[in-house]
């Protein structure tokens, strides 16, 4: 699942439309949207607002394999309006902590340091861009995903030649974000994130449920049970897996667990190579 976090509705609008998302709730000033493959938070301006809304989004929709993207406009000294970057270093003007987002695949955008400021500024530098959310977003999103799955993409909306302060043309901003959607889509598709996902097959889930209903396990035994069935799930094909249902005829839970382990010992040495 893609989790987008943006500060302003005008930034979010093209993404909401592209992924056909619908409103799915509010929290304070934050608004949430949901589609089939993506969710989005419009957080309001500022690092704290971004952190709060990111946390709410993560807690409301727990998921182990989400990719988190903070997308938004930023200021950059010599860069042209519309230039886009991916954060390779996230810093702020209020914390000594810093983050280095890790990349799995290739990025369609050049990397740059994103420095998050507490207040808007027309002070620009050449080797970094300035925003008001990335640091808060990153701090919060890392609670729900590893560094490879948390990225910040920033698009230049103002620079030393065209400083804009706090007043923006909403249509222009929507258009800046919309122009990056094809790259965002391709980045998410080619980032290699899906390779680490793991789901248990239905025969294994079925065996787990039946075993839990049949025997009264202690907490430690439950852990052993899950672990052994997960291993067998990886080792056995459907036919072999279905045969394990026969083990449920064991009168004692200890015997059942031992039989699962024997099967693992037997099959694992055949499947190592």
């Amino acid at each position: 699942m893609k989790q987008f976090v943006l500060a302003l509705y005008c930034e979010a609008k093209p993404i909401i439309q592209y992924f056909r998302m619908k409103p799915c709730g509010k929290h304070g000033q934050a608004q949430f949207f949901e589609g089939e493959t993506a969710r989005l938070a419009v957080t309001g301006v500022g690092s704290l607002s971004s952190a709060v809304a990111t946390t709410v989004l993560g807690e409301r929709f727990p998921s182990n394999d989400s990719t988190w993207l903070n997308i938004g406009i930023c200021g950059g000294g010599d860069f042209a309006i519309g230039d886009a970057f991916i954060g390779n270093r996230i810093t702020s003007d209020y914390s000594r902590e810093l983050f280095y987002p890790q990349l799995v695949g290739k990025s369609p955008w050049p990397g740059i340091e994103i420095k998050t400021l507490n207040t808007p500024s027309n002070r620009y530098e050449t080797n970094r861009v300035f925003d008001m959310e990335a640091f808060g977003f990153y701090t919060a999103a890392l609670k729900f995903a590893s560094s490879e799955r948390v990225q910040c993409i920033k698009i230049i909306s103002d620079n030393s030649e065209s400083p804009k302060g706090t007043h923006f043309n909403k249509t222009e901003i929507s258009s800046l974000i919309a122009s990056q959607i094809p790259k965002i889509e391709s980045f998410l598709e080619n980032a290699g994130f899906s390779k680490a996902q793991y789901y248990m097959k239905s025969w294994a889930n079925d065996l787990l449920t039946k075993a839990k209903n049949r025997y009264s396990f202690t907490e430690t035994e439950r852990h052993q049970l899950s672990s052994r069935i997960r291993q067998l799930d990886a080792l056995l094909d459907l036919e072999e897996g279905l045969c394990l249902q026969l083990l449920l005829s064991s009168p004692k839970k200890g015997q059942f667990l031992e039989q699962l382990q024997s099967k693992i010992d037997q099959v694992s040495r055949q499947r190592v190579c």
Partner: protein, 329 residues
């Protein structure tokens, strides 16, 4: 090869840094204060990063040369190891590096001269003693030699210090830097070897066994001291028979007369490291059956370990004298 190179502040102008940056001039460069800022944070996925690791150029402060754990030696008076690099180009499922660090990025410590000075200081403590120095503990010694220039610096040092032995532990067939120079009698090129089915299934991205044996033969014929490292032995169906055939194959490729030493050890790992490896690869059969916890480490069940170990040991001793054999148990 590298999409991103992180550069620690202290080594930004180091000649080795500049050489590497010059070689990878298209890589994105990112400054960092200390390498740990990038390498150590907890919320990183080793498995995802292993798909496309970045390079971190850093300096190693202290603890550069360390004594080996008890039981790991090759008959010298003292044994040490040092790591000019953290993490490996290869992706061997049984390797402790899979569960050792938060990050799969490569850290290269460019201050080789400090390592050399520390090795020299260790030797100077008692010049009458023979000392063995193992490289390739936290990385493969040769796999990235073209990038790191490791042998260019360390081999000349060992060539001049006869009471110091160096082991280059590797699976790499990147041996041109060795073949281009005269062999050094106190440098051992030690190859990690396993039968083809194990290598194919578990030693991802490493050169095929056939190519490793060819490299070994070339090095032996050129006069280099050769080490054979059957470590870790892996338990698998008909494994004892396969290991027996494999050892015949190895000594057929590299006649026993060329061998400096052979070591042997079965698969084992500290419990916490194995747990992490298991969580990285939950479908890997290697971590599933026939294992037991013993003295804080996880290894094969006693009977399996003994049977595998003793049968391979017996086979090896058909080819080499006991003086060249060093079990790690």
């Amino acid at each position: 090869m590298f999409g991103r190179i992180y550069i620690e502040e202290a080594v930004q102008n180091h000649p080795r840094t500049l050489e590497i940056l010059n070689r990878y001039d298209r890589a994105e460069r990112i400054d960092c204060g200390r390498y740990g800022e990038v390498f150590n944070p907890k919320r990183q996925s080793f498995r995802l990063q292993k798909q496309n690791p970045a390079l971190i150029l850093a300096t190693k402060h202290g603890n550069r040369v360390l004594p080996t754990p008890t039981g790991y030696g090759l008959g010298a008076d003292q044994h040490y190891y040092f790591s000019h690099m953290l993490n490996c180009l290869y992706d061997c499922r049984y390797c402790f590096l899979q569960g050792m660090y938060q990050s799969a990025n490569y850290v290269l410590f460019v201050n080789y001269e400090d390592f050399v000075n520390d090795i020299k200081a260790t030797l100077d403590e008692d010049p009458s003693k023979q000392c063995f120095f193992f490289s390739g503990y936290d990385c493969d010694s040769l796999a990235m030699d073209k990038v790191t220039g490791f042998t260019k610096v360390f081999l000349p040092f060992f060539a001049q210090h006869k009471n110091a032995w160096l082991e280059l532990r590797t699976k790499s067939v990147n041996i041109s830097s060795l073949l281009e120079r005269e062999p050094i009698p106190n440098v051992v090129v030690a190859y990690s070897l396993n039968p083809k089915p194990v290598a194919d299934s578990l030693e991802h991205r490493a050169p095929p066994i056939k190519n490793r044996l060819t490299a070994l033969r070339k090095l032996a014929e050129a006069g280099w001291e050769i080490g054979l490292r059957f470590d870790p032995l892996i338990h698998f169906e008909n494994g004892i028979e396969k290991y027996s055939q494999f050892i015949d194959q190895v000594f057929d490729s590299v006649p026993p007369g060329y061998i400096h030493s052979v070591t042997l050890g079965t698969f084992r790992s500290p419990k916490n490291v194995l747990k992490k490896m298991e969580s990285l690869y939950p479908k890997e059969p290697l971590f599933m059956g026939n294992l037991q916890l013993k003295d804080g480490a996880i290894g094969y069940e006693e009977a399996i370990e003994q049977s595998l170990f003793s049968s391979v040991e017996e086979k090896i001793l058909q080819y080499i004298p006991p003086s060249k054999y060093f079990p790690c148990q």
